[in-house]
């Protein structure tokens, strides 16, 4: 009788062991075969030219002739409400020969590049109106004022532009962004009607 019991308990032990080994084997198979397949599972539906990171993450708007003719700027608005401000490709500054040669954030009453915004609550951020000057960009013969376009708190300016103003010529729509502004929801709603979206911009400025 006792033999049978030990026999049964032995076999249930081996069963457990077998189950464990089975499990391990399945896991290894998964790592070797299934996982690589899963990683490429999206490949079927890939477009030949996907939208860029900016296009995917921001709603793109333009402010045309902002306070002066041909002073075109873009406003990229993220779903979290933050707005990236920069020069649109049709901005008059790019028409000058040699393009943009220098930038200066010391405009208006303070040097915009000097302020340190800290903390989650964005302490020390300056509150600006939409027509407040952000920076001055200069070409060989002229200079132009870039403005906020959106009323809100100035979170950061693109410090890289001070040493590398040529970023504006090469990629004003990305690494050449001017500043990041955080508007209150109500202020955004006020300014939005005066902005145009990408489609309208392309039509109005005959850009491809």
């Amino acid at each position: 009788m006792s033999d049978r019991i030990t026999e049964e308990s032995n076999s249930s032990e081996t069963k457990e062991l077998e189950q464990k080994q089975d499990k391990q084997k399945k896991e290894e198979e998964y790592e070797d075969e299934e996982l690589p397949k899963l990683l490429l599972s999206d490949v079927q539906t890939l477009p030949s030219t996907p939208p860029s990171a900016v296009e995917s993450n921001f709603a793109i708007y333009f402010a045309l002739d902002f306070m002066k003719p041909r002073h075109d700027q873009y406003v990229y608005r993220h779903a979290n409400g933050l707005c990236v401000i920069g020069l649109a490709p049709s901005h008059v500054a790019f028409k000058d020969e040699g393009g943009i040669t220098s930038t200066d954030f010391n405009v208006g009453k303070s040097d915009r590049s000097g302020v340190k915004v800290t903390g989650k609550r964005k302490k020390n951020a300056q509150h600006f109106e939409s027509n407040t000057a952000l920076c001055k960009v200069s070409t060989k013969n002229d200079s132009y004022i870039v403005r906020c376009c959106v009323k809100g708190s100035l979170l950061e300016v693109n410090q890289q532009l001070i040493k590398q103003p040529e970023l504006l010529n090469a990629s004003a729509d990305r690494e050449g962004y001017i500043a990041i502004i955080m508007p209150k929801p109500v202020d955004w709603l006020k300014i939005k009607p005066s902005l145009v979206n990408l489609e309208e911009y392309k039509k109005l400025r005959e850009v491809s």
């Binding site: 996982l35 899963l38 990683l39 890939l46 990171a53 979170l155 090469a170 990629s171 690494e175």
Partner: protein, 511 residues
């Protein structure tokens, strides 16, 4: 009649004490102190505990048969005890039944409690009794003990008792109720997750609470205090002066029974395991903004709701070792998590955990998968610590670049080891995080071709925990860039090529 009832009760609980046994016990105690206590209006159980007596005798005594050893006609049990305010006399206002309650035996109180437990429908094989006493009574206990120490401190019998101290009200109550409860609930009492909580409250606010709550309600041996708990003139000096007024100990205004409420609950159970997320539309935790849900489901709800329903718990808390975005899949070994389930009516077992794991994995929509789901104790939290923070994390990102790839690209990327990058707070989280620069390390990278495309590739990377992967790949408008070092030129070229073009990516977390 009375005799018979008393015998039945006492016969039910071994070792049984009859009323004559009780008389004998009382006679064995120092009579001067005993009579004094009786005259102070202290109930029989409080007297027994002041003399440090323990055990099931508390359960066996029938209040109706207690006699004052000196004057047998008077019984303290008809009046409210001045120390415990009826707690040990089984007199209270029942908050549940909303009526006054006055019984002679512990068994009757146990009946009330057992009925409640049965109604609540918990599965259990043991129970643990918890008692909560109002500070007012703890203060009375402390005052009385202080008084006793002063008055009888020099007597030999007290010197002996000093080692054991008196029994606290909580303990005396437990001595009274545990035996009957074990009988009624048909199981033993022990330290276990199933708790029966008895809460006594009193309408009168307490004075000078601090001193006696430190004591925790037990009047174990204390050095002779210079001040009593009311913070007034020391008791000891007033006793010596002979001017001590006993009525000060027990103000009449407080002579009301307590409110009593009782409930049962289970301490939380913890399930540990790993989860995989196959969907790019499922958040890790429940994510609702302005009454609108982001994504179609959440990992915590998919797992939590199933477990909660299976154990019949009240609610759950989901803790994961790290997190991933809603549009990032979690594959590979899976992410460790712990699910805390509160107040389960059923007792989960290993088999139970296996069944739940199966149920979750057999869901039709296959959004989430669970591995190695099991019950964990405090060791579970150690596993979680290991799962985040120090560790290196591995990812796979499906990347597109506008410039067709060359062989050198693959080699260059593979050659970069422990690359330092500086990441300014990504714009997508800048609204809720501090604007900082965080230096992170990319331990290694490997590019893998994607069949049929010269512009898509799979980027495998292993990074320091806390690295923003998406921003590393697309550069976040130049706000993520390599730290200056000898690899700079190499990486700069490469990054410039990638981000100077358009990139888009689908990230998968693995580790």
């Amino acid at each position: 009649m009375e005799q018979k009832a008393e015998e039945e009760v006492s016969n039910a609980f071994p070792p049984s004490f009859s009323s004559s046994d009780l008389k004998q016990l009382l006679h064995s105690l120092p009579s001067n102190a005993l009579n004094h206590f009786f005259s102070l209006g202290v109930c029989v159980r409080c007297i027994l505990r002041l003399f440090g007596i323990k055990g099931p005798i508390y359960a066996s005594i029938d209040n109706g048969s207690v006699e004052n050893p000196v004057d047998s006609t008077a019984s303290n049990e008809t009046k409210l005890c001045n120390v415990c305010l009826g707690i040990l006399q089984f007199r209270f206002y029942d908050d549940r039944e909303k009526r006054m309650f006055q019984k002679d035996a512990a068994y009757d109180v146990a009946l009330l409690i057992a009925d409640m437990v049965r109604q609540e429908g918990y599965q259990f094989d043991s129970f643990s009794l918890e008692v909560s006493i109002p500070p007012l009574i703890l203060q009375k206990e402390a005052s009385l003990w202080s008084y006793i120490q002063t008055k009888y401190g020099s007597e030999p019998w007290f010197q002996e008792k000093i080692h054991t101290g008196c029994v606290s009200i909580k303990d005396a109550l437990k001595f009274s109720l545990i035996n009957p409860l074990e009988k009624l609930l048909d199981c033993k009492s022990s330290w276990c997750p199933f708790r029966i909580r008895l809460t006594y409250t009193h309408t009168k606010a307490s004075e000078g609470v601090a001193k006696c709550s430190d004591n925790g309600g037990s009047c174990k041996r204390r050095k002779t205090d210079e001040s009593d708990s009311t913070g007034e003139r020391p008791l000891s000096s007033s006793v010596e002066n002979g001017s001590f007024d006993c009525s000060k100990l027990f103000p009449k205004s407080e002579n009301e029974p307590c409110h009593f409420t009782y409930n049962c609950f289970r301490t939380p159970f913890y399930f540990g395991g790993r989860y995989l997320k196959y969907s790019r539309n499922v958040s890790q935790t429940c994510w609702i903004i302005d009454d609108e849900r982001m994504g179609e489901a959440s990992v915590e709800e998919i797992i939590g709701i199933k477990v909660l329903q299976a154990c019949r718990g009240d609610n759950y808390k989901f803790h994961a070792a790290g997190r991933e975005d809603i549009d990032v899949r979690m594959l590979g070994p899976g992410r460790p998590f712990i699910l805390e389930v509160q107040n389960t009516r059923l007792v989960p077992t290993e088999q139970f955990a296996n069944n739940i794991e199966k149920m979750i994995n057999e869901e039709e929509n296959k959004l989430v998968r669970v591995k190695n789901l099991k019950l964990v104790g405090s060791d579970g939290w150690n596993l979680m610590r290991e799962g985040e923070g120090e560790k290196q994390k591995q990812y796979a990102a499906l990347v597109w670049t506008s410039r067709p790839l060359k062989d050198e690209d693959f080699q260059q990327v593979s050659s970069l080891k422990d690359l330092k990058v500086v990441q300014r707070t990504p714009i997508r989280v800048l609204h809720r995080r501090s604007p900082l620069e965080r230096e992170k390390i990319i331990h290694w990278m490997k590019m893998e071709t994607v069949a049929g495309s010269s512009q898509y590739f799979l980027l495998h990377l292993c990074t320091q925990a806390g690295t923003y992967i998406k921003e590393f790949v697309h550069g976040d408008l130049g706000r993520t860039h390599p730290r200056y070092d000898k690899n700079l030129r190499l990486m700069q070229c490469l990054m410039a090529k990638m981000s100077g073009t358009h990139t888009n990516l689908l990230v998968t977390a693995l580790f």
